[in-house]
Symmetry: none
């Protein structure tokens, strides 16, 4: 449904909505047991909540399509991710409170490891400490390219942001990250005629970086991806008439929330910190987006047990969210990250929506398999917000 | 999703996909037992595979819509059959390696039996031998119409192809086959203003054929349907970056595969022949479309026991396909052909998708009823290919 249409139905109110996004929530059975991470974890509070909630599976982009974190979250916020594409560079920049200006081209950078032949041996440079990243970024700041200002900012571990600022730039660029080991980083190519000059600038930057990083193993090279300029998105608080706040320990998710106009609350680095922040700001907002990163991290590492542990850790803290007595509580994720895939997957993601009006539902366990039978069915991510708004009694009737 | 979008996500790879299309797979319970053909058949290998696979039901065109074999298969190949209509005449012509030229109008012809009043008593003329068909086609080749070349080719049993070749022709024509007994063949009508001249030519052909066939009972008349000109379809191998091969004993399915650019492999007349062909060409391709006709044939004849037998025969040969160790194996069909309907039906068709990453799924029997609870849900046919591509790890992530 069109956001314009939903806006027309949206009513101000006093009800409170909490949307918990467990990053990379969905999983796959491990061959040894035939059970997924959710089916293995001891998560009594989630199962009990599923028993009282409406359940289903969210498909974020389309059948068989693996969503990145950007499209995954935009979907949860009510935006059709195919209609509103956002580059990773933009998200990454927003996530570190970097003030992008209109026309800036941002890219996500990874420090990586290359061998003597220049071939990639670790795309994340062994996840170097953030301090090492900051020190290497200092080196990159020496680089100048003709026709644009070069801005480089450290993010976390091996990640940094590159921003080119100047007139006539374009983000229609291919990535230098081949997403594979044993091959050299790729030259960046223009994907549109107007991007030729920007492509040349980026390649000039990379060529200048190579000698500067040569002695910095394991972070002796860099990869760039997700080039883009800031898009214009309808504002979430205006669309749904919600005072909306985002609580996320990780910068990228804060950036994404800011992109749609949510207020980003200052919080700590753990989920317990996030819940404390939620409690402290409970009266100030109607809608809280609460992000939990650990599930994705464990899945990306292919660590089944760690993902199970991350789920159990979330479950243990869930009662603190329930204690605030939200009118609507939703639990889902931005995409699946099955440990057996060691990366994002295309598998639909379990979702539960609890409210006093969520309806009878046969599901009593919060797993991929069980949620198949839920009353929410297999729903496009952008249909979640209308469900939450309805359960919060914040949508008026359509037609008289 | 747009094929253009899917193409952008498609990656080359080494994984192998096998798509088994059991023609007319889906059925209906017979009143005596309350069990469908799939529920009656002893198909241990299919049930076991369903237990390890993701299951669901495919809807090929829309709710309540009975697909022909053309739309049914185009859907399985990833094409929205409403966006890419193909006439049966075109498929039939391609299926006998008839080289259609742009602008040719092709129709499928049936020899049929009419009584003394000219009313149809058998739409298939008792399935006359192919040699009889060829002999009668010789007679039809004597016919000339003004303004176009008339080309007639025998196909198999009672079926032949009529092609009109000339300038300014149109395939927007109604069919002469009333699809009923006890009525006379219909005059062909123009369905668009530009088709008036072509309609007149076709009726002139039919009028000329009547006396030529009068003494040829049971094949003493003909029926024409599926008039069309060759459509322009995006090529399957380019769209999905797959080296794609089709193995089908029946000409029409070869023609359909050729229409989307698959390579058609020479094979024999039985499914065992087809599997032998599959084995022989295993290394040469990434994607195999394997067609099994017997299920549809039995269903069309209203022979419940024969359809059960055809399912059991497929099941017995399935281990030979599994032995090749495809990375992704899908089993479904192009439409249902319930024996109690004696023809194609609108009922959604069971589907299973097996891969190492197909996910946990509650279904453990490959039947219409069981597949209702599958994680693939009720999916449009054109969503199957994205699922297969994802399971083959041949799609890259969308967005960062």
């Amino acid at each position: 449904m069109e956001l314009e249409f939903l806006h027309g139905l949206s009513q101000p109110g006093t009800s409170k909505i909490v949307l918990c996004s467990l990053d990379g929530l969905g999983g796959l059975p491990r061959p040894e047991t035939g059970k997924s991470e959710l089916e293995t974890a001891r998560i009594p509070h989630l199962h009990a909540l599923a028993g009282r909630a409406a359940c289903g599976l969210i498909r974020h982009v389309g059948p068989g399509i693996t969503p990145g974190s950007g499209p995954g979250h935009l979907g949860l916020f009510g935006y059709d991710p195919l209609r509103f594409p956002v580059g990773r560079g933009v998200l990454e920049a927003l996530g570190i409170d970097f003030e992008l200006k209109p026309g800036d081209v941002a890219a996500r950078g990874n420090f990586c490891t290359v061998d003597a032949q220049g071939k990639i041996t670790d795309r994340r440079a062994g996840r170097i400490p953030t301090e090492t990243c900051a020190r290497l970024v200092e080196r990159l700041r020496r680089i100048t390219v003709e026709g644009a200002e070069v801005l480089v900012e450290p993010v976390k571990e091996h990640r940094f942001v590159l921003v080119l600022r100047g007139a006539g730039l374009s983000g229609r660029l291919s990535e230098s990250d081949p997403q594979a080991l044993g091959v050299a980083p790729l030259a960046v190519r223009a994907l549109a005629p107007e991007a030729g000059r920007t492509a040349a600038m980026v390649n000039q930057f990379v060529d200048a970086a190579r000698p500067l990083l040569r002695d910095a193993a394991p972070a002796n090279m860099l990869l760039l991806r997700g080039f883009d300029q800031q898009p214009q998105l309808p504002r979430f608080p205006d669309t749904f008439r919600l005072r909306a706040a985002a609580i996320a320990a990780y910068p990228m998710y804060r950036g994404l929330a800011r992109l749609v106009g949510m207020e980003v609350l200052k919080t700590g680095s753990t989920f317990a910190d996030e819940i404390r922040t939620l409690r402290e700001h409970w009266d100030g907002y109607d809608f809280f987006f609460l992000h939990y990163k650990d599930t994705d991290k464990a899945g990306e590492d292919g660590d089944f047990a760690a993902k199970v542990g991350a789920l159990e850790q979330f479950d243990a803290l869930l009662p603190q969210v329930l204690a605030l007595k939200p009118d609507v509580l939703a639990v889902s994720g931005d995409h699946s990250t099955p440990s057996v895939l060691k990366g994002h997957g295309w598998q639909p993601v379990p979702v539960l929506v609890w409210s006093a009006y969520c309806g009878a539902d046969p599901v009593s366990r919060f797993t991929e398999r069980d949620c198949t039978s839920g009353t929410l069915g297999l729903l496009p991510a952008q249909d979640l917000m209308p469900h939450l708004m309805a359960n919060a009694l914040r949508f008026t009737k359509y037609g008289a």
